[in-house]
């Protein structure tokens, strides 16, 4: 199609890699300019390798190669003031705001009962409060523009419980509630709010020893990619172990575009059938 977001500006958190990067590049291919935000550093309690400034630079390079303008900043979604300032600067430089993707998220693992308080709190701070911050910082710009589309990245864990990630499941369910309230509040301003619920996505969030080992408790070492895939496949209805970041980005593109102009308050799974089996 091409041009499905012509002349639009999209703000994306967690844009340095994974789903966030895929959104930035896919949206740019369709004519959008991008405000790319990422923490580009480690977060306490999170054991997966952190995103880096070099990752964010690579997103910028890919967006520009796709023909989009990009403003990128290093900011932590837990820092409301910093997020507000970065959002305001991006909107100022690119001349408006039309689409918001609250994508930044973390993962960690622990049984719910034995969980350390810091693990719990950090999860809520990033995956739930960070999403609220993103909405709070950006909604006034959308309201000022008179329209918009907000997409919150939840998870299949926003629709069902997953073992060993009670804090993640709680936060991702919380995002659905936030989405439903916000959709009611922003509809009079012609702003739509929806959530996306991916199954495992082939990003650093799952491709690490902690997550992959949880899928293969039978091994006394982290599984290979193929051993992990074998164990992950039965989660999904379709015969695949995980989806690609582009699949999540395509669903977001649809929701961001005019084609979905009357779709709001919807929880859209991109889960290869995982929640329905």
């Amino acid at each position: 199609m091409g041009g499905r977001l012509e002349g639009k500006v999209a703000l994306i958190t967690g844009a340095a890699r994974g789903i966030g990067r895929a959104q930035a590049v896919r949206f740019a291919e369709e004519g959008s300019d991008i405000i790319a935000l990422d923490v580009c550093g480690s977060v306490d309690t999170v054991i997966i390798p952190p995103s880096t400034p070099a990752d964010l630079d690579e997103t910028a390079r890919l967006v520009e190669a796709a023909g989009g303008r990009i403003v990128s900043e290093v900011v932590d979604v837990r820092d409301l003031d910093g997020l507000q300032a970065a959002t305001d600067r991006g909107v100022e430089r690119l001349g408006g705001l039309d689409v918001v993707c609250a994508t930044a998220g973390i993962t960690s693992r622990s049984g719910t009962v034995e969980m350390d308080e810091a693990v719990w709190q950090t999860m809520l701070d990033v995956n739930l409060t960070g999403v609220w911050h993103t909405c709070k910082a950006s909604a006034p710009h959308l309201i000022a523009g008179g329209s918009g589309s907000v997409i919150l990245i939840s998870s299949i864990a926003g629709l069902r419980g997953l073992v060993g990630v009670g804090h993640y499941t709680a936060a991702k369910h919380g995002v659905v509630g936030l989405m439903r309230s916000l959709a009611n509040e922003l509809a009079p301003h012609n702003i739509r709010v929806n959530s996306i619920h991916p199954t495992n996505v082939d990003t650093p969030l799952i491709q690490n020893a902690v997550v992959s080992s949880a899928f293969r408790p039978d091994l006394d070492r982290p599984p290979t990619r193929e051993e992990f895939a074998e164990a992950a496949r039965p989660m999904n209805m379709l015969p695949i172990p995980w989806v690609e970041p582009i699949d999540v980005a395509n669903a977001c593109l649809f929701l961001a575009s005019e084609e979905a102009r009357y779709i709001t308050a919807v929880a859209l799974p991109v889960d290869a059938g995982s929640t329905q089996r």
Binding site: M1, G2, R180, S181, A183, N184, A187, P188, N190, R192, T199, N236, M237, L238, P239, I240, V243, D247, N250, A251, L253, F254, E259, A260, R261, Y262, I263, T264, A265, V266, L268, P269, V270, D271, A272, G273, T275, Q276, R277
Partner: protein, 266 residues
Amino acid sequence: MSGLLNKVVVVTGAGRGTGRTHCERFAAEGADVIALDIPSAATDLCVTSAEVEKRGRRCVTGVADVSDLDALTTAVDAGVAELGRLDVVVANAGIHLAGAPTWELTQEAWRRTLDVNLTGVWHTVKASVTHFGKDGGSIVIISSTNGLRGTANTAHYTSSKHAVVGLARTLANELGPRRIRVNTVLPGAVGTAMTLNEATFKRLRPDLDQPTADDVAPILVARQLLPVPWVEPVDVSNAVVFLASEEGRYITGAQLVVDAGLTQKA
């Protein structure tokens, strides 16, 4: 991009309303169309066919009532024989007969509604699924916001639309291993004759002698989150095309609501 170029889609209820716009949108994405509807809609089907051809694609029309498995199978087989393959099924045909409190519904209205809206969808899948190739395919079943919640005086319709969600969930499990995806689209009020008709107008505005669409619009607006009275047929078609396209390749077993927020209004 959509991956629908040179694919073949079968659409039931293709003569008018959202069925026609599905055909138009698929043709615009480069797909050929098998357009089916009941015998009395033969003239409407000619219009649909012309719209598909206007977009540079082929259209094979067929008449069959979806409640008649043999007639439907014959029509699907003929379309596939002519167009050479089948990749997408849109089970769109549906009826909304006059309602009544559940205990006053006639057996005829109940049976006919289930025959078309539920058994007709099962027939459509049954007649089509064997034609899918080894690359799999996509089935989109049109349910309704009444597939998620009930409204007064629609037990026949609401039951049938809930039931197709169950059917889709089972099918998605059965067909996933063959890379055939099964999803439902659930429209709210759509600007077609099924919503915009005299009976609806009178039900919503009993205070007026001859109410019109304009008279009921404010009532419908007030029910939804977005400030519109109904969605247009093309909005439903856009959702169907998205699910059927390569962009939705890993979406299955999902319910996608297209209702301007009708079901989520606080």
